[in-house]
Amino acid sequence: MRILAVVVCVLALAPAGLPPYAMTLLTEALILGLFAMSLDLMVGYTRLLSFGHAAAYGLGAYAAGNLLLHTSIPLVFTILLAALCSGVVAIGVAWVCTLASGVSFSMLTLAFAQLLYAVAFKWTAVTGASDGLAGIPRSPGPFGITFFEGRAGFYYLVLACLVAAFIFCRSLVRSPFGAVLRGIRENEAKTLSLGYNTRRYKIAVVAISFTLGGLAGALYAPFAGFTNTELLFWLFSGQVLIMVIVGGTGTLIGPIIGAAFFMLVSNLLSSWTDSWALFFGAIFILFVLFAPQGIWGLATRWRSLSSTG
């Protein structure tokens, strides 16, 4: 908890010391961190391997984009509304997807995301088809507050969302609800036989995960100023899964680190080679093979070893 406070303080001081380009990267890393953490609720705590989490991000981004372009609702409320949008859609998605389990569940989530991707390509009025939505503003207010429109202000908004979401997720996984999720992860049949309606819990966790993923997407739309169908593409779902695994599943912190690592490595690699995906794919394979607990898992194990030894 004390480390967390220190990290948040350091992050809060970042706008004072970092150049604009680094601030942009950091903001995007935090948004991706929020997105990856939302997936961890499903993958790490419930073992619901989603291959379509881009759907959550895309829903949030397009909802926020439309609200900001066509209404004058303040930015802060817009992102919350867009996140809710994503969560509500998720209840329907989860209802269907939880009919299956294991690999079929993963593939159903992929199918849903691709369905949305296909819709986004055709529904020009709402999504702008392949052009996407451009010129998304950061609407002012409420009470005429314009703080969040600037680079630093928007960064603080993202940071606040991430910290709030992290505290919410941490208390969620420590609650009795979280215990049932872990029960489903370890042995769903046993949890079911203890009298828990596991399907209802799974639908709930998908909805929560989509709401937070939608929040990340809703932040991305005004951050980048545009949305496009790439946000719904399966490759993006795969990338966020990489962030979760490389960072460390079932830890909440891990996926955030994974997202930052992803941003860092792809930026470093892309400055001296344009085939960074080659290295990234290889790094990912090595992590799954030799360090399935991820970066955060390695770090905590190393810390406990050094403290006992």
Partner: protein, 289 residues
Amino acid sequence: MDFLGFLVTQCLNALSQAALLFFLGVGLTLIFGIMRIVNFAHGAFFMLGAYVGYSAVHLTGSFWASLVAAPLLVGGFGAAFELGILRRLYRRDHSAFLMVTFGLTLVMGEAIRLSWGVAALEVPAPKSLSGIVFILDEPFPIYRLFLIGAGIVVALAIWQFLDRTRLGLLIRATSQNAEMVHALGTDVRLVRSAVFGIGCGLAGIGGVFAAPLVTASLGMAPNAVIDTFVIVIIGGMGSFAGSLIGALLVAFVQVFGTYYFPDLALALMYLLMLIVLVIRPGGLLGKEA
């Protein structure tokens, strides 16, 4: 336009599409049946087949040579990957395979881009198969008729291979009870490597066959892998006949959907899959619910 002629040529079109999809689906379902793993890199192997086919055509000048070279090379690479990497993962849960093969997809996509460049590569159909015939006064490409024939031949060959040969017997036995097969003195690990190689080789053949129709391009892998998953999920994971039925259903939905509902064409395939899964979560011929 004569409606009957239109209907017949569209059906033939769908059948040739189904043949291509079948090459992909049957490989994936074979691999799943034996190893209980989902090969996310299946589309990448398909793409590799198309590129290797392109190079083989240019080196030897013969399309038929590429039909032999591509599956051997692609299948060999698949088997080597199983031996080197996948083998370490059998004790882990199924998600580890999805991830490693996803990583492989990224690596293969980049490696192909570095080796062959970003431009789409034209692969000419062999002279004897280019041109068109008239079916009920409608023009139809000979190459697509050839694909239908090739699909039927390969389907029969796989069926006979699984049903009549010793390796086929071992494959079926391993898919039912791997430990028992191992206890009876067969090295199951070799069966797995062989099946992974065969599955990838089939995807490679599919790539060679597809190249003259769609050109070899970097967009092949993602499209192929999703189509393949849809087929196998509709048909039922691990079911040979299921992959055939799935390929036919998806091909007909794609071809007729594109004609009648051009705006919904992309979505129709996923809707079909959702409907099947809601009715039968394990797929049409799948065993698991």
